[in-house]
């Protein structure tokens, strides 16, 4: 699905150039649930932005489904993001003034033809993250965990092949983190390719593959044959944590 070869990225700020990615080779197959770990500043977010077509590499080649994407125009990249990808950010990035449902429907604003069943699909996406009872709540009226679940619903409403999540549990407590991970594991089980950046080794243990990035290079790349089940972890939490 994703094939990166010799990807480099150097930021140029005035006279100062900051090399961030120093040649990354990485293949991610469809259906894999990959965690990218590494110290702060190692280039995890940069790599994810490049894979998510939000940024362009300085060098190297990126084949997405066998097609080189480095040569595509800005508009073509936008269309690919709209059709194929979903994003979850650490800070949720929800529209504060819009309801949960409206937030989830955002990708359809920029879809080619507006799907006739958009509302229904939005509701289903919210139900898939357990928020069918929060359709008309605004982000300010939701907890952090609920906000992140709305963001996940927005990422999956277009039924994309790829989901990118940059520290999706970074702002959440343990229970909410498990809830988010359980949803992402579920998506992975449905065959979606999920790439997740995390600092939390507990979270990475729930992924099927862990890539460690250090100073812009891949230091290790390990398969995890038996990931922890987030749903099981959730069930195993002591009940007093039910009451926040």
């Amino acid at each position: 699905m994703i094939r990166l070869k010799g990807i480099t990225k150097t930021y140029q700020t005035g006279q100062v150039s900051t090399p961030v990615l120093l040649g990354v080779d990485l293949e991610i197959a469809g259906g894999e649930f990959t965690a990218i770990m590494g110290p702060s500043g190692s280039g995890k977010s940069t790599l994810m932005h490049i894979m998510g077509l939000l940024d362009r590499p300085s060098g190297g080649s990126y084949l997405l489904d066998g097609h080189e994407v480095c040569d595509l125009t800005d508009d073509q990249l936008s269309v690919l993001r709209n059709r194929k990808m979903g994003f979850v950010f650490q800070a949720f990035h929800l529209l504060a003034q819009a309801t949960a449902l409206k937030n989830v429907l955002l990708p359809f604003v920029y879809a080619g033809p507006y799907p006739t069943d958009a509302q229904e699909r939005g509701r289903r996406a919210l139900a898939a993250v357990g928020l069918e009872h929060r359709l008309s709540h605004r982000p300010g009226e939701l907890s952090g965990g609920e906000c992140q679940r709305v963001a996940i619903a927005r990422a999956l409403v277009t039924d994309p092949d790829l989901i990118f999540a940059d520290e999706p549990t970074g702002n959440l407590d343990r229970r909410s983190s498990y809830e988010v991970m359980a949803i992402l594991q579920g998506l992975s089980a449905q065959g979606k390719t999920v790439v997740l950046v995390t600092h939390d080794s507990h979270v990475s243990e729930m992924c099927s593959r862990v890539v460690r990035l250090v100073y812009g290079r891949i230091e290790s790349d390990q398969r995890n044959p038996s990931p922890l089940s987030a749903a099981a972890m959730l069930a195993g939490l002591p009940p007093e944590q039910d009451q926040p």
Partner: protein, 408 residues
């Protein structure tokens, strides 16, 4: 739903989500457009009335006014300021060919009382022909006549406003009014005329026969202030003005070419031209006010939109992430600016038209509401919004997805 329709919806939500700020951004346009619409309405109204008045008074009217002569030679000591015209001058002008009437007149602010009420008004002392020249008719009673003038009868014709100020709705005809302790019998009341172009109430007046006014209330002065000369139709006013000048110079013994006229001759057309000049000045002022307020309003919209782009950079980022094209972002912010422009412009036009409709009866002006100007300023508002909204919108569209999504 088309993509453009969805973007309109997005822009509308963006404006509504920041109601207070949006209103403030549109306020500049509102005030500017309202001010311009009112100014245009009033200036059109004044201009209409001016033209109406000149046409009513007759464009074939020449006014001769006494003026300070610049004295020269041995007569310098004998020429008194503003004391050059006499009733005899008027009589001489009447004999001039092409002159229908030449009516001498004095107008003076005077205190008039009746049955204990006292008011200040404008007294006009003249001959009965003045009514014909000024197009005045009796609304009640009658006008005074030549016999009454010649025999210095103490009669008066009042305007409606003066009568109202003195006795309210009651009639003054057949009653006496007092001017400088002299009783005058009111023989008639004029048909109302309203305000003139300068906002003067043409009905706040009393007309007195010249002779009795001079002898009884104007300290026996020998001079008049002005002579109204009504030309016969189809005459060259310039030629007539020349004839008048010649006769008056003769009569005033201004024989040397160096002697300056001790009177001024003004035709209605000149008066109209002067008014038109003021009108043009007012028009330029309106355009200036409009320009400045639109500039200020435009800068306001730009500032609000720039702040919006900066503040909403993460929003732009997430929109780009889920597939918004650069031009979608451009359209969103431009449409937001257009909504502000249309909103401010429409509210301003409505307010301006409302104020104009309110002012109309107060100012006694008869003018049509300037609908076309209101519509025009709405379009201009839209244009201003687009022009000043373009830069912020381009800034928003220029952000790369990663720049936008990572900035807080």
């Amino acid at each position: 739903m088309s993509r453009l329709g969805r973007l309109w919806g997005t822009a509308l939500e963006g404006v509504m989500a920041r109601r207070l700020r949006s209103s403030l951004a549109a306020l500049g346009l509102l005030v500017g457009v309202a001010a311009v619409v009112v100014m245009v309405a009033v200036s059109l109204g004044t201009r209409n009335q001016m033209i109406e008045q000149v046409t009513a008074l007759g464009s074939d009217l020449i006014t001769v006014r006494a003026s300070k002569a610049a004295p020269s030679g041995i007569r310098a000591a004998t020429v008194k300021e503003k004391a050059s015209l006499t009733p005899a001058d008027a009589a001489a002008l009447t004999r001039l060919e092409g002159v229908a009437y030449a009516v001498p007149g004095i107008s003076k602010a005077m205190r008039v009382s009746s049955q204990g009420a006292t008011v200040d008004t404008l007294a006009i002392a003249s001959l009965p022909e003045v009514f014909a020249v000024e197009g005045q008719t009796a609304g009640e009673g009658r006008l005074f006549n030549e016999r009454e003038e010649k025999s210095s009868r103490r009669v008066a014709v009042v305007g409606a406003t003066l009568r109202r100020n003195l006795v309210g709705q009651a009639s003054l005809v057949g009653r006496t009014i007092e001017i400088r302790k002299q009783p005058f019998l009111v023989v008639g009341e004029l048909a109302p005329k309203g305000l003139d172009a300068n906002g003067q109430d043409l009905d706040d007046r009393v007309y007195l026969p010249l002779r009795s006014a001079i002898t009884r209330v104007m300290a026996a002065q020998r001079h008049v202030e002005y002579i109204l000369v009504q030309a016969e139709p189809g005459l060259s006013l310039n030629d007539l003005a020349e004839d008048i000048r010649r006769i008056l110079r003769q009569r005033h013994r201004l024989t040397l070419p160096a002697d300056k006229d001790d009177f001024r001759i003004q035709t209605q057309l000149e008066a109209l031209a002067t008014q038109e000049e003021y009108g043009r000045l007012f028009g330029a002022l309106t355009v200036g006010v409009a320009g400045i307020s639109l500039l200020v309003a435009g800068v306001g919209i730009m500032a609000v939109q720039l702040i919006g782009v900066r503040e909403r950079t993460p929003e732009i980022g997430v929109r780009r992430a889920v597939g918004a094209l650069r031009r979608d972002i451009l359209a969103q912010f431009l449409l937001e600016a257009m909504i502000l422009g249309l909103g401010g412009g429409a509210a301003g036009a409505a307010l301006g038209l409302g104020l104009a409709a309110l002012i109309r009866p107060l100012a006694g002006l008869a003018f049509g509401l300037p609908w076309t100007y209101a519509l025009l300023s709405l379009l201009v508002s839209l244009a201003v919004a687009v022009i000043f909204g373009l830069w912020p919108a381009r800034k928003a569209a220029a952000l790369t997805p990663v720049e936008a999504v990572t900035r807080f």
